[in-house]
Symmetry: C2
Subunit: 119 residues, 2 copies
DNA sequence: TTCATATATGAATGATTGCTCATATATTCA
DNA sequence: TGAATATATGAGCAATCATTCATATATGAA
């Protein structure tokens, strides 16, 4: 009876579930990154930096937001090693730490597009 | 002088930045998904559902959390089409809407691993 | 050194959010 | 139908968070 096989498989999966979950530390690292992505300002900063390195002021101008706000958000992104910075003349230029970051955004965009096709 | 070329390229990139950013609607959709991923409870739910479909009660037991809390979080995930549900006998089973979701998590895990190697 | 500019930072505040508790709804079973 | 079980939902509360405002720090120019 296939119905019972399904049930048995399910029970087995259920039993192993808890120990198959990533440990809290790893999960927390991931969740923190998603949290960083889950804010309009930071997402815009990331997309902007995907095009070219930018100074704090340039980002503030582009996004039409205060210097302070951008600086605060950059320090969060930096704390998570999502961006790095370097002085360039009078300014400090920020850049994405690695290309993975923009890939994750693109992947998510794909998910949304796929999703829209369902309707 | 290569320094000036750099500066000119930068000015050009800066000028085009604003109109190259994704429009707000698209960005908001992405940000909402990241927001959903950016919470330990929901992340755990997603990892659990990546293994097998589960009822609300099974998730609550596995994560050692209240039924109400899990139900609330599931409704958020469902609102974003990240999970779907179907009654199965007395219970309601939830499953991931598509496989993209777990790919995004794995991609992020890769980012973290790469990051750790830098130290 | 002094002034001007660019960035960082701390405190305060309003908004968002995750959980709990109580309760409503819905389905199965007897 | 009535009781039991599974899930959903609304209000309330504490915690988190993004922005602002004021100010500190740091660099470059004169």
């Amino acid at each position: 009876m296939p119905e019972q096989n399904f049930e048995m498989e399910h029970q087995k999966a259920l039993h192993n579930l808890k120990k198959n979950l990533p440990d809290n530390e790893d999960l927390e690292a991931m969740v923190n990154i998603f949290k960083a992505f889950g804010d309009m300002t930071r997402a815009k900063i990331i997309f902007a930096l995907a095009e070219t390195p930018l100074s704090v002021g340039e980002i503030a101008d582009t996004l039409d937001m205060s210097q302070s706000s951008i600086s605060h958000q950059l320090s969060i992104l930096k704390g998570l090693n999502l961006v790095s910075n370097a002085r360039r003349g009078r300014n400090i230029h920020y850049r994405l730490s690695d290309q993975h970051i923009i890939t994750i955004f693109k992947q998510t965009q794909d998910h949304i597009i796929e999703d829209e096709n369902d309707f």
